[in-house]
């Protein structure tokens, strides 16, 4: 822990961005990662602690054209309980349902989950399969980046220290889209994913279209499975294809051994869980 020299809780985005401009501020949202990490000596707090929870621009959600705009401060429980959000983006609601406990979900934000960039972050896999974009703001302007490619390593993203994540844009899934999220932890609640898996595709008469497959906790970042996607794209799900897809997924992930699981077991899980998801979609 470092001594915090200043604590700021600005009410306007401009003030917040000004405070960030020097690059010596730590952003505090729900604090459910930050506090744990700083107490555990894993994160050094910068001299300025910037509480962003009073920024109205970062709260709430809205439908903007073909996309849902989710404010960075939207809590995990809002993803789960807000009727509009849960209906538009059932995959995120499902991930939120398997996330931590009520106490944590009330505090934890989607912006914090994205910026914390844990390979096991539970909203990240759904955001990857949903083709989400992140909106970043700094004193010198705004930019939007696709979430695919945003994560560069464990805890690392393309966000610069003077940038604030303001919102996440998620294109509304088209008609006849099926999507699935599976979280594997060793217990039903309050567990960090040992493996997670997301799937989305449109069911067309010709077969699957716009297939997205993503995995969590099986590499340095949450990751898409391009090989698996390519294999499934335009195809109809047959037992042979499903078996091949499970094999492909298991081969293209890059898991490690840690206290939660060995790499071998993570590969087996991805294989079996993807097979289960695809069987379920095929029966749909």
């Amino acid at each position: 822990m470092t001594a915090i020299e200043r604590y700021l809780a600005p009410a306007s985005l401009d003030d917040a961005l000004a405070a960030l401009a020097g690059g010596n501020a730590t952003i505090l949202a729900g604090g459910t990662d930050l506090m744990v990490q700083s107490h555990g000596g894993k994160t050094r707090l910068r001299p300025v602690l910037l509480n962003i929870r009073r920024l109205p621009e970062l709260a709430g959600h809205s439908i903007e054209g073909e996309s849902v705009r989710i404010g960075a401060l939207t809590t995990i429980n809002q993803l789960r309980e807000d009727a509009t959000l849960a209906k538009a983006l059932p995959l995120l609601a499902e991930a939120a349902d398997r996330f931590a406990s009520d106490q944590v979900r009330n505090m934890a934000t989607i912006g914090g989950n994205v910026c914390n960039a844990s390979p096991a972050g539970d909203t990240l896999v759904p955001l990857l399969v949903l083709d989400a974009e992140v909106e970043l703001a700094s004193a010198s302007g705004r930019r939007r980046l696709p979430i695919n490619g945003f994560f560069t390593g464990p805890g690392r993203t393309l966000r610069q220290p003077e940038e604030l994540l303001t919102a996440i844009y998620v294109p509304m899934p088209r008609l006849r889209t099926v999507s699935r999220f599976v979280k594997f932890g060793t217990r039903p609640a309050l567990d960090i994913s040992a493996v997670s898996l997301g799937f989305k595709a449109e069911l067309t008469p010709a077969g699957l279209a716009n297939v997205r497959v993503a995995f969590g906790a099986v590499g340095p970042t949450p990751m898409r499975g391009p090989g698996t996607e390519a294999l499934l794209e335009g195809q109809r799900l047959t037992p042979a294809l499903i078996a091949k897809a499970a094999e492909t997924a298991m081969a293209e992930i890059t898991p490690i051994d840690d206290v939660r699981a060995t790499a071998w077991y993570r590969r087996e899980l991805v294989h079996n869980l993807l097979r289960k998801v695809l069987n379920d979609v095929a029966d749909h």
Binding site: R187, P188, T262, L269
Partner: protein, 767 residues
């Protein structure tokens, strides 16, 4: 006149006396106690697992403002703690495991103390480490303690009969090696102590979470070179013990030395991470078991060879073979038994006592073999157990005298309620099917001491009862309350005798200057031993009260009784006078004797002989637990659906309390079986927190059906026997049997984490 109906408290559902304060968050634990002038004590622990200490430089820490003392080994007498006295409070020459204490600081705040620890510089020279207990016995292995060149910290051997003859008459012989893992207690209330010397007298008061205050008085005196009579131990409400507070551990004398050095009270309370690193563990074990039976289902012999990973020092963990032995020799009738154990030093954490005391490990091995042998001879698993089950009246070859024994009733009831036989054969028929979610059912039984255990010179407990002018009863008991509900059950037993409501009772149980002696909370002994002591004291008090009432009422004492806060006429319940009125009149007379004393020295048990034979407990507890599970073969996840628990508890005293004890024990056993594991990599603990050390959480707790067998033990208070440890013992064994029933795969290592189960299924399918 008023008639008072008889209304027994025995078997009622009584709320624990401390529950309202605890549930309201008002209980004041050691964390909430702060003495004037108190300093914060903190310990620097090593980051090595086996090394020579070359130098310790504390100069910068000493110079830090706000630091009042920095101690290292050279400031203290080098007295060893623990069962082998091999564990000095601060290590000066050598470290032997991750938790080892190098230096201690007393400072004005936690921040200053933590900073001072960071300023201490230690130089080490690493030594070859030893992590594998089997390697510890090989020639050329690193020697952990010079005084034990063979690395054997302790060994126990036992035998009866002739196993060679037993094997010769066997139709089936099975053999397995079972590997039991390392878990820890996870008390919600972490370890802690406050040491406070009286400035002029030099008397020492300790506020301590210990579960053995009277033994600790002696041990502290020995370590500190003090007169034990000048040590007073006060126990604030304790947030769980489960055995973890049964030995004296380095942080306790360290705190006293800090108080001595600073002449200020010093408080030392563990952080959660420290509790994981530096409180004892359950004893890991490798159990090699060979067992045999005849075709007709008679057990023939058992050969047992156990290797315990003792860790760097010797605490109670090394002595668990004493309890394991009872299960091997006497849970079922076995004519020939040969048993060898060794506890060997390694550079791993060391084990202490933990609810069940080796019996979880022993039962796991035995009950796997009971299933295996039943299947091998083609006998129903329940019938096989019934055939070999002990019955009341037996004296086992080890000398255990089962005056009451409900094992056959436990087996029958648990099997009937769970539809065990039908389910076991139906699920077994589906073992071979590929994939999907499979169901299984499994059973295990246990035997544990239930009437104290004669391990120390005395197994007694004292009680004083004080009655005041208003009919209020104060029970001063030696028995400690560590969350198990002892104060409620003791109050209940006294109320039953004195005919007063629970609200008229206070229990004082936490101050060695006030309460009579007791050996401590261990061996499931408190209800039995302290209960008998309380009943004895209450009966003495009652006799005195009735004698006095006889004088005042002109009725003979034999015709009087106590009920509803009144002295009554026994024959019709008619009130003779309110109890408070009688007591007041006694107070102002020359016959005033409002305090009575009684005790329970000794229960009718004996110290075992050198061959570990003899009736070590005055009564024995029995149980059978059946579990039904699901195994997801895609992931290896085992879901516990339901537990049927049938327990011979002698008699139910507080129904709510005993149900809570059994539910809690089942969940603890479930965690041992399925999720809890201290993950060690080269002597370092990798999961010192609840994120990755997985306790069972609410959604995983199964449905439970709990049945009591009341065998009315002749020696127990109101017929009751001990139950504290019993409910945790069977779970791992029963779950292991259920996994085999579901999948055909016999897993011999714990815990049954999804990955281990999945790997087992894959290997089972491959072989």
């Amino acid at each position: 006149m008023t008639v008072i109906e008889k209304d027994s408290l025995i078997g009622k559902r009584l709320t624990k006396m401390d529950a309202p304060e605890k549930t309201a968050g008002k209980t004041r634990y050691i964390h909430d106690i702060n003495l004037p002038g108190q300093l914060v004590g903190m310990i620097l622990r090593t980051d090595r697992v086996h090394a020579i200490i070359k130098s310790i430089d504390t100069s910068a820490a000493r110079a830090l403002p706000g630091v009042h003392a920095v101690l290292t080994a050279k400031d203290l007498p080098q007295k060893g703690l623990g069962v082998n006295k091999d564990n000095p409070p601060l290590k000066g020459e050598r470290v032997r495991c991750e938790r080892d204490e190098i230096a201690a600081v007393a400072a004005e705040s936690e921040e200053i103390a933590a900073q001072a620890l960071r300023l201490i510089k230690v130089e080490y020279e690493d030594l070859a480490p030893l992590f594998d207990p089997e390697a510890a016995l090989r020639p050329g292995a690193p020697v952990i303690h010079e005084s034990k060149p063979d690395n054997v910290a302790m060994a126990f051997d036992y035998s009866h009969g002739d196993v060679v003859a037993g094997e010769a008459e066997s139709d089936v012989v099975v053999e397995d090696t079972f590997t039991l893992h390392r878990v820890t207690h996870c008390c919600m209330g972490v370890s802690g102590i406050i040491a406070d010397f009286e400035a002029t007298s030099g008397n020492l008061t300790l506020y301590s979470n210990t579960q053995v205050p009277f033994l600790h008085k002696r041990e502290f005196a020995e370590v500190l070179g003090m007169d034990p009579g000048r040590i007073r131990i006060i126990q604030p409400p304790i947030g769980g013990g489960f055995g973890s507070k049964l030995d004296i551990y380095p942080f306790e004398p360290i705190c006293v030395y800090l108080a001595q050095a600073t002449r200020r009270p010093v408080k030392l309370v563990f952080t959660r991470a420290e509790e994981f690193l530096a409180s004892p563990t359950r004893q890991p074990a490798i159990v090699r078991l060979r067992s045999g039976a005849k075709k007709d289902g008679t057990l023939t012999f058992r050969t047992v060879d156990i290797l315990l990973d003792n860790g760097g020092y010797t605490s109670w963990g090394a002595t668990i073979p004493f309890v394991m032995m009872q299960t091997f020799s006497s849970l079922y009738r076995v004519p020939h038994c040969l048993y060898h154990t060794k506890a060997v030093y390694t550079n791993n954490p060391y084990a202490g006592s933990f609810r069940g005391y080796g019996n979880l490990q022993a039962t796991f091995a035995i009950e796997a073999h009971m299933d295996k042998m039943a299947d091998a001879i083609g006998m129903d698993a329940l019938d096989f157990r019934m055939k070999n089950a002990q019955v009341a009246g037996e004296v086992t070859p080890q000398g255990m005298d089962f005056k009451t024994c409900g094992l056959q009733d436990c087996l029958t009831l648990a099997a009937r309620d769970s539809d065990f036989a039908a389910k076991r054969s139906a699920y077994a028929a589906r073992k071979g099917a590929v994939g999907g979610v499979k169901r299984g059912i499994g059973m295990a039984s246990m035997l544990h001491v239930g009437g104290g255990a004669k391990i120390y010179p005395s197994d007694g407990c004292g009680t004083n009862i004080k009655l005041d002018d208003f009919g209020h009863v104060t029970i001063m008991t030696g028995a400690s309350e560590i969350g198990q509900g002892s104060e409620t059950v003791l109050a209940q037993l006294v109320c039953e005798e004195l005919g007063v409501p629970m609200s008229a009772v206070t229990v004082v149980n936490n101050d060695t200057d006030i309460t009579p002696w007791d050996v401590g909370v261990h061996a499931s002994r408190t209800t039995f031993i302290a209960g008998n002591s309380a009943v004895g004291a209450a009966r003495k008090a009652k006799a005195k009260i009735l004698a006095a009432a006889a004088g005042l009422s002109n009725l003979p004492a034999e015709q009087l009784d106590l009920r509803g806060g009144h002295v009554i006429r026994a024959e019709d319940g008619e009130s003779v006078m309110p109890l408070a009125k009688l007591l007041r009149s006694l107070h102002f007379s020359d016959k005033a004797e409002l305090v009575t004393t009684s005790h329970y020295y000794e229960p009718p048990s004996v110290h075992q002989d050198k061959g570990f034979k003899g009736n070590v407990s005055a009564a024995y507890a029995w149980a059978t637990q059946v579990v039904e599970i699901e195994v997801d073969t895609d992931t290896g996840i085992v879901t516990l659906l339901k537990v049927w628990a049938a327990h011979d508890v002698g008699r139910v005293l507080n129904r709510l309390g005993i149900e809570g004890q059994i539910e809690g024990g089942i969940v603890m056993g479930q965690g041992y079986a399925l999720t809890e594991d201290m993950i060690m990599v080269e002597g370092h603990l990798k999961n010192a927190g609840f994120t990755d050390y997985k306790l069972i959480t609410a959604p995983e707790i199964p449905e439970m059906s709990i049945e009591f067998i009341e065998t009315m033990d002749g020696e127990g208070p109101q017929g009751a026997k001990g139950v504290g440890e019993a409910p945790a013992i069977c779970m791992a064994a029963a779950i292991g049997n259920a996994i085999e029933n579901a999948t055909g795969v016999r897993l011999t290592s714990l815990p049954f984490t999804p990955e281990r189960v999945y790997r087992g299924l894959k290997q089972g399918a491959a072989s």
